[in-house]
Symmetry: C2
Subunit: 194 residues, 2 copies
């Protein structure tokens, strides 16, 4: 098992409804050393691809994106989930369905921060059905930028998000791919390259 | 002028309604080197106070909190703005009015991540009226933890948030304190210790 799989085994909790709680280290309380290990793994994988921006979506993706960006020495841009008074000018936008909150929401990104010159690494903490990631890909398509890779901390391998993205030709790196999870039996992982 | 004041002068934009747009480096696109300079400044100021946790609120506070936490070598905890299916168990919560979005929202934090043993540094990107910060302080009061300092990137010194916090005895460090801002005349700053 790699560092993240071990951490999930130790501190993750499986709850009813395919919920894997990793809030003690990944998306509520944040273990910064662990985020650095994740960022390093993404850098090892994508360092030679001329990445110019790390793109994610608020909120928990921001933590992984910022730490990862330190290795690539490039800016982070994060898509916003609500239109605020402070977002003006031309925006890319895409509609995403959230299963966690059971509603549709719009993700938006200011056009000035993503252009056809950009080579982008997309990152997020979770990949399950892949709705949020498809929203980011939609925004990249609008911008005409090049998606060089997709870095995910935890992929739920028993849901279709990862397969759909790989079948579409995207280079997806998930540090931990959950094969199965059960409230009594815990978590098992797919064999992984990391 | 310090590094952040210079950056605001160069890349910030003043809009009607007391809006200071810093979205090219602080809260939409993120300049990670700048965030490191902010984190270092907070560390210089609070390194001897036995800080055990960096506390912030989603979303843009997460970026500053994560980079700052690397200097302190402590975890980040961020308060969430909506109750998701993934937040369960005992929660601290506080109601906050957002002037940006012109509505009330609840911030919540899992009780297991903040206790009376914690010595906390609160951080955020902006301090204006101070509603979000008072929500975090309310949560800290519920937890019984000790607030050792408050680190802010940009304080709007012409609004009451900073004065209210300092009058209440909090040790507030704002890297840039805006004295005045005007769409034509730009931004001026208060003399600052950083």
């Amino acid at each position: 098992m790699n560092f993240l799989e071990e951490r999930i085994k130790r501190d993750g909790q499986v709850r009813a409804g395919n919920i894997l709680k990793v809030d003690s280290f990944l998306n509520h309380q944040l273990d910064i050393d662990l985020l650095n290990d994740i960022g390093k793994a993404f850098y090892d994988r994508y360092k030679d691809l001329g990445i110019t921006k790390i793109l994610t979506v608020e909120a928990s993706g921001i933590a992984i994106a910022c730490i990862t960006a330190q290795y690539f020495k490039v800016p982070v841009v994060f898509a916003k989930k609500a239109k605020s008074r402070n977002l003006d000018g031309d925006l890319y936008s895409s509609t995403v369905h959230s299963f966690t909150y059971d509603k549709d929401y719009k993700v938006t990104l200011s056009k000035k921060f993503l252009t056809s010159d950009d080579k982008v690494l997309l990152v997020d903490d979770f990949l399950a059905v892949g709705k949020a990631m498809h929203g980011l890909i939609d925004i990249c398509t609008q911008a005409g930028c090049e998606i060089k890779g997709i870095g995910i901390a935890i992929e739920k391998g028993f849901q279709e998000g990862g397969k759909t993205l790989r079948d579409a030709g995207y280079d997806v790196t998930s540090i931990a791919i959950v094969r199965s999870m059960d409230e009594n039996d815990g978590v098992t992982f797919e064999t992984n390259i990391i």
